[in-house]
Symmetry: D2
Subunit: 334 residues, 4 copies
């Protein structure tokens, strides 16, 4: 960490700061220029509150040099994290998984039909929404507990491990038999929830917030990991920009960038990012081509009951095409 | 709501859609052009899921015309909402309130000292953070329950109503004697929390999310209101943009725009928006000049213990200057 | 186009608007609801100024339904535009081209060495900057006219067609022997320049502005096309977001979305988007996987003279790997 | 400037970089930590190309500490720039000016009528668009040369100095009798134009680009100033965000922030920012309250010919109210 002091910082105040920093066990290397003095801090600066220092009158600015995340940092943990679910299904470390299923669980028949269809098409993990975060209180909020029960049925029926979203820490008990718990983009900084999930040993599927930076995503992973749960899967699902033709802007550079910064697996969700089913295939291919560890894709059941299908969902046979193409692309980049 | 159908939409599919819409009790006015057919929907379209329709293959696009929020909508509730707290302190409806206090509660002495200082300087409502949402798990997370106790002490000591942030629905019981419960920007779309707060009759101070639109903020207010709690105060506290010289970009046009769209009070938080104490005064003046219903301002206690002060906090005497200037500006625009 | 009128719009004013619209040769289909009246305009609305109408007191809002671009619009020109340069090199229509070369032209030796190297590695069109737009007036502004001369030498030497950036309409004469003229992101809305380029018959390589929408990019293409030059190549090169770990955020969904909206070729520039050389390969693969018509890639000459190389430039042998991988990926998606 | 070297940077490569930096006349203060080495550069680093260094394999990152703009920097020029136009009208240095007039010049009668009306209402400088940058090639492009002639008529008639927009360097000769030349947001980084304007001694009114940072705006001012023209007026006119209810988001914190960073005057354009006439008054008051040096406001002539008025234009009597309120607010903050 670098602290830039103002030119005429009174000596007494700089002394107070120097003492305080030394109490935090960091060493100060000062370098005095014509217009400012620079302090380079050496030691573990991850616990130093940069906002606090930046607010001091004597400080012109501050620059972090090392990352504030430790457990998620590849620098300190060079090997890929590999998470195993179900019957030896590995996420991360060069493996690739397809998380597929309907947006919302609607009935036993629906979830079991889709589960079988996506399994046949190549999906390895079943997704399905029971608790649904919706912008409008008047929109369908999911089947909630009941939906969770149906998803567990589908797990039993197909043998696939399941991933589904949690919306409140008070629901954790309901997720006991869920294989992977998803934290949605809108809850990426629900810190109380993250801390509670950190006390489990179940894998957590953490989606990037709509306007979160890579570093903030990694700090949210750090919340989970610092409580003792190392099993975090990161997911890029589009960020908010001024472009309105797509629902969000899928930031695929997140794949190589995050994999450089962290050892955690990185999965892409092309369905939510674009919000348009016909973009799922090209963006899935692109995600595979730049090195993603998996794809989360919405697949619906019955093309004839069109009105119940999300705008971003594929038919099972379209999903099968995605799986096939992705596998070929992965051979090219191997 | 306007639905734009594709040119060659098969008649059978358009019939399915037409029937479904009519079941939702909306009337369809069709207008057929050379390159597309347009359906104008007349009736209550607030419960119609636009995402769902937009996903249909026969649909080229959809445009909402009426707002999806009803209870928060000024169209249906033309009179300003006025919320009363404490001993007749009115928020909204042409009144102006100063919410002031420290970023975090640190000790009994600190919160009581600051409370008295801000009261003397003109504050009408005391703010103070007990539960602190922090990007890093290693940063100070607030005094939590204990801090809440100290804030209640300060309320007793000064007679000021208090506002403080909640981070999880499971904490609601602890907030029984809190006058106004704050929902932070990161929890603006924590829908489970919003629903629980909607079951109270306590005023809720709802901060705009970092990348939320006006409509999303109003939909989050609608979550609270649709559960039965009409006492919502909106707060603009800066949005995320590409500008990095300020922490966030304070969007003051939110004041006149929100007041046009809704009858709820609109308060500005200039402290968090800029993240720089020396911007609080000019931005407070600007907020008053464009018609805000109040200001939430961080004030710290002891300028000599600088390291404990947030970067965005004013000294009590600086806060007093803000109050004085704001009052004069309000006379000008009255 | 849909015009939403306010509820109590005085009849006299709506009559003025109605007359004016009819003079513009559009037909009005009115539909009157409880809270607003909606006018659907049928006819050619591309010349109607939406800003103007939106400003009227009687108007609540306006929604465009058909796109304001005509010549660039795939609806009216369903077949892909195919542009031929040099010795039968085709851009668009299922062909794929590699535009490669150094960021800046620095010397005859450099440009000719790089040109030969990229040709050997599979590049089909040579790029090189003579006029360089730089944020700082103190940064190197390119070799300008002299650089252009050296690029023409390289063209002669290698037989490759060349693309290079123009910064001002007054320089057009200098570009007579240039095969493709590039308009940089910062000049995407330099409308005087676009109009002048529209009078040529040379292909124009038009980069998306840093915060431009797809529609604005297409309107800038329309500026060129409406003056008579149909040969426009679109290029996505990253947009500005709040993420700072990469220089810009490459928006790859632009490929399938633009190709749906327009018949013009779409090329990706991964070098500028990320600003980081090690992202060029994965992002190039991703661009190919989602259907781009080409890649523009910076390649430098001499890895030992590292200081002269841009941060986003590849070595020729790295570029050769990109070409090889892209070709294999294109076979997969074919 | 701080350079952070990678941990295992080979000594030979760091030596090359060290030598190169020393040739640029900067001194290196090294500080070696466990995970990285930090070089603090002392001296004039404004001409060092950070992109270039950031691209080196041995470099992990780079942080600028001093600003790359010199002539626009308040650090080196602490006194406010005061620009005088017309008959002693001063811009900057505690003075406040109203730039008012129609969006577009439409006829002699119109411009002269509006000019007289705004002068009577308190405007000190007349604005009017002759060359109009429009997103669509089919929209009205302004009366161009002819409009400029009419504006000069209005200047003669009223004695007011005039400001109008230039769109291409080749038009400079036409602007000989214009008092202040405006560079629009879309041309903020038209560097060839900026350089040509730098060779004049006429004041330049430089608008912030739609997604430009403060630093980029100041670097564009520096382009003009470094060519010898110190008379630059900065203008904030809204930036692009994801909010769509307003055309752009007016960033009023730009006023105190820019005035801290630079000695140049800072003017606010509330008309273009919001794109909504009824926001002009509150946002003008807010701009005055936070210390702006002036306002640029669109005023139209004839409320009955509503269709010719921009959506963001005030009637003269509304403008008069803005002037009156702003003057009172300025007394409060004085």
């Amino acid at each position: 960490m670098i602290i830039i002091l103002k030119n005429q910082a009174p000596e007494q105040k700089t002394k107070v700061l120097r003492n305080w920093l030394e109490q935090q066990n960091v060493e100060i290397h000062a370098s005095t220029g014509e217009f400012q003095t620079i302090w380079g801090l050496v030691g573990d600066t991850s616990k130093i509150d940069t906002d606090l220092i930046e607010g001091l009158e004597i400080v012109e600015g501050i620059r972090r040099i090392s990352e504030p995340y430790k457990q998620a940092n590849r620098k300190f943990h060079p090997d890929d994290t590999v998470i195993t679910v179900g019957d030896g299904i590995k996420i991360g470390g060069g493996n690739f998984q397809f998380f597929a299923g309907p947006c919302s669980i609607e009935s036993e028949e629906q979830i079991i039909t889709v589960a079988k269809a996506v399994k046949a098409a190549g999906a390895t993990i079943l997704r399905g929404g029971a608790f649904k975060p919706r912008t409008s209180p008047y929109a369908f909020q999911g089947m909630r507990n009941e939906g969770l029960g149906l998803l567990l049925e589908a797990k039993k029926e197909t043998g696939m491990p399941i991933v589904t979203e949690i919306m409140d820490a008070s629901h954790i008990d309901l997720f006991e038999d869920v294989d992977i718990i998803q934290v949605g983009a809108r809850n990426m900084q629900n810190f109380e929830l993250l801390k509670e999930l950190g006390k489990l040993d179940k894998p957590i599927f953490l989606k990037r917030g709509l306007s979160a930076t890579y570093q903030e995503l990694l700090m949210s992973a750090e919340y989970i990991m610092s409580e003792g749960n190392p099993n975090v899967i990161l997911c890029e699902r589009g960020i908010r920009t001024f472009e309105t033709a797509t629902r969000n802007t899928l930031d695929l550079a997140a794949v190589p960038m995050l994999k450089e910064k962290t050892h955690l697996p990185v999965v892409i969700d092309p369905s939510h990012a674009a919000g348009i089913a016909r973009l799922v295939k090209p963006m899935s291919f692109a995600a595979a081509a730049c090195g993603a560890d998996g794809l989360m894709i919405e697949v619906h059941n019955d093309p004839s009951k069109a009105l119940c299908d999300g705008p971003q969902a594929l038919r099972p046979e379209e999903f099968a095409e995605v799986v096939k193409g992705v596998e070929e692309i992965r051979k090219v980049i191997a």
